[in-house]
């Protein structure tokens, strides 16, 4: 036996190699069970964790994006609301201004009419005044003249005329 174990076939120690091979296989099997699988498990776990992290990140990004989209939409709506409010305010302002303008126009028209009326009235008054003055002067003149010059004849005639006119009427 030992001769087989000690002999070399073709110069290679096949027994030693066989021994080494067996040891190697045993080692490998042991290692596989003791090291390889757990390490693999560990690596897989790590990979999963990383993947989870990546997924979460992706999800959050999606959420953030959808929120942003929402906010953008809201802002747009706000802008629209503001624009609408501005429009109504502007419309109201315009209406108010128009109203004021119309009432101002109305006032102006009324003022014009009154002014014209006033002018006509003033003219009338001026005419009356002038007339009054003319009459006054005429009367004064007459009074002056008469005081000096009414003749007895004229006075008598005046009296007689009055008497006959009055005497002729019913009482």
């Amino acid at each position: 036996m030992t001769s087989i174990l000690a002999s070399t076939i073709l110069g290679i120690d096949w027994v030693k190699i066989l021994m080494h091979l067996i040891v190697f296989v045993v080692l490998m099997t042991g290692l596989t069970f003791l090291l390889y699988k757990p390490v693999l498990k560990f690596i897989k776990k790590r990979q999963d964790t990383i993947q989870e992290g990546l997924d979460k990140g992706k999800q959050m990004q999606e959420e953030a994006e959808s929120l942003k989209a929402e906010y953008d939409a809201k802002l747009a709506a706000c802008d629209q609301e503001i624009a609408d409010k501005q429009k109504t305010a502007q419309a109201e302002l315009d209406a108010y201004l128009e109203e004021q303008k119309q009432s101002a126009d109305h006032d102006i028209a009324a003022l014009k009419a009154k002014a014209q009326e006033d002018i006509a009235q003033e003219r009338q008054n001026a005419v009356e005044e002038m007339r009054g003055e003319v009459v006054d002067v005429a009367i004064k003149l007459t009074e002056e003249l008469l005081e000096k010059e009414i003749s007895e004849e004229d006075n008598s005639k005046l009296i007689q005329d009055c008497l006959s006119a009055w005497g002729g009427e019913h009482d």
């Binding site: 009235q121 001026a126 005419v127 002038m130 007339r131 003319v134 009459v135 005329d161 009055c162 009055w166």
Partner: protein, 498 residues
């Protein structure tokens, strides 16, 4: 220069048409002149209230007609009429120029200007004495005359066409109420006539200055017969004011007339009657002292649509002595008017201004003269104040009060503070509505009474600044609905939490 031609033409025509012989006029002779009363012999055909001409711009009013003589009261020229003067009948009764031109002017009872301006350009003339609108010429009083005074518009509201008496002792704020009412008519298309009877000239001057300062003279006429004027002029003044206001009423407009005051008017008429030797009665007033005021006040009315729908609202003022509203003239006028606003000196001196005694004041037109908003919101206020007055008696005796009574008292105090109002600050309808809502729903429970006015002021400022749309809505719709209530409640909350 066409005018010259016109004038000379006119004169020539006149000269041609002159009667060759003189005129014949009805006349009489002045027998005696005594204390402003002229006794005239003759003038048998003169009518009651006819103007008698005594030469040189002197007129007298014929008031005592007898078979052989006429007793007339001099309107002017007391020192210039002598016995033996000729008195001519004018065949016309006292009248006054009316029309738009009187607005902004101060005139005497005959229409002569007192403000130094030109003569009134009359659209027409109206007799001072005129019949009141008949039964079928009138319609119900249904629209409010907004005085802008919270206590009045909520508790004793005045309608267009109503007569509401303002009665109280001297210096209780009667004229102030009237002036505030005039100021509040700005922009409301109501013509105002203020008749000053027997007042001090300085008082009338101040009043005109006040009205001018608040831009109220534009739509107001002042008829003035101060204490310096003769009794006949003081007697005529209210009728002049009424004729002027009536003219607007019959043209479809709304008018407000204030007689300040009828007590002095009664005294002036008593003077005339005693001088005319008419028999005197209670308190030396003549027998027709009631008729003097009733025929005046009955001319205020709300005309039917057929006549244009115009209105004349009267605010006569009577001054009482020591609060005696049971005296002769006050009781007369109370029975004529459609309600009274009773002002008390005690309230005035206690700081309650306007010093309106809510318990004794009444408006016989009431809520028919209120806008929907005010009507809805002021319903409870009288009741609350009545409760308060009852409880006040207990409080005065310093008795121990239970929580319920204390609450009523506190609430009443807040209400009273809220109804106080300074002069010249009329409150608009929407402001009044907001304040009434807040006070009658007792939203200010946590605010001490003394601070209520300033809080309400802040609230109204806030409302105008941030909720202007609501305020305008209330004014436009004249109503106060749920939406408005919510807005106001929120505003109050916000201010209370500051």
């Amino acid at each position: 220069m066409a005018d010259f031609h016109l004038i000379s033409q006119q004169l020539k025509e006149q000269l041609a048409a002159l009667p060759k012989t003189g005129s014949i006029q009805k006349a009489g002779r002045v027998k005696t002149v005594n204390d402003g009363v002229v006794l005239i012999e003759g003038l048998a055909d003169v009518v009651m209230g006819e103007l008698i001409y005594l030469g040189k711009d002197k007129y007298a009013l014929a008031l005592n007609l007898e078979e052989k003589q006429v007793g007339a009261i001099l309107l002017s020229g007391e020192n210039e009429v002598a016995a033996g003067d000729i008195a001519y009948a004018t065949h016309r009764v006292a009248s006054v120029p009316v029309g738009e031109d009187v607005l902004g002017r101060v005139i005497d009872p005959l229409g002569n200007p007192l403000d130094g301006g030109r003569n009134i350009r009359a659209k027409g003339y109206r007799n001072l004495e005129a019949p009141a609108p008949t039964i079928w010429q009138r319609t119900k009083v249904d629209s409010p005359l907004e005085t802008g005074i919270k206590a009045i518009d909520s508790i004793v509201p005045i309608g267009k066409g109503q007569r509401e008496l303002i009665i109280g002792d001297r210096q209780t704020g009667k004229t102030a109420l009237a002036v505030d009412a005039i100021i509040n008519q700005k922009g409301k298309n109501v013509v105002c006539v203020y008749v000053a009877i027997g007042q001090k000239i300085s008082t009338v001057r101040k009043l005109i200055d006040d009205l001018t300062a608040h831009d109220a003279m534009r739509y107001t006429v002042v008829v003035s017969a101060t204490a310096a004027e003769s009794a006949p002029l003081q007697y005529l003044a209210p009728y002049t004011g009424t004729a002027i206001a009536e003219d607007f009423m019959y043209r479809g407009k709304d008018a407000l007339i204030i007689y300040d005051d009828l007590s002095k008017h009664a005294v002036a008429y008593r003077t005339i009657s005693l001088l005319l030797r008419r028999p005197s009665g209670r308190e030396a007033y003549p027998g027709d002292i009631f008729y003097l005021h009733s025929r005046l006040l009955e001319r205020s009315a709300h005309l039917s649509p057929a006549l244009g729908g115009g209105s004349l609202t009267a605010l006569p003022i009577i001054e009482t002595l020591s609060g005696d509203i049971a005296a002769y003239v006050p009781t007369n006028v109370i029975s004529i008017t459609d309600g009274q606003i009773y002002l008390e000196s005690e309230l005035f001196h206690a700081g309650v201004r306007p010093a309106i005694n809510v318990g004794l004041s009444v408006s016989r037109v009431g809520s028919a003269a209120q806008t929907k908003a005010i009507k809805r919101l002021s319903g409870k206020i009288r009741l609350d104040l009545a409760h308060y007055r009852e409880m006040q008696l207990f409080a005065r005796f310093g008795a121990d009060l239970d929580a319920g009574t204390k609450a009523v008292l506190a609430r009443g105090e807040r209400l009273t503070e809220s109804l106080k109002q300074p002069r010249y600050q009329p409150v608009s309808m929407e402001d009044m509505a907001v304040e009434l809502f807040v006070m009658t729903n007792d939203l200010l429970r946590s605010v001490p009474a003394k601070e209520v006015p300033s809080f309400v002021g802040e609230l109204l400022t806030y409302m105008h600044q941030t909720q202007d749309a609501t305020m305008r809505k209330i004014r436009k719709a004249q109503d106060f609905d749920q939406e408005d209530e919510t807005v106001v409640r929120q505003a109050v909350e916000r201010l209370l939490n500051k």
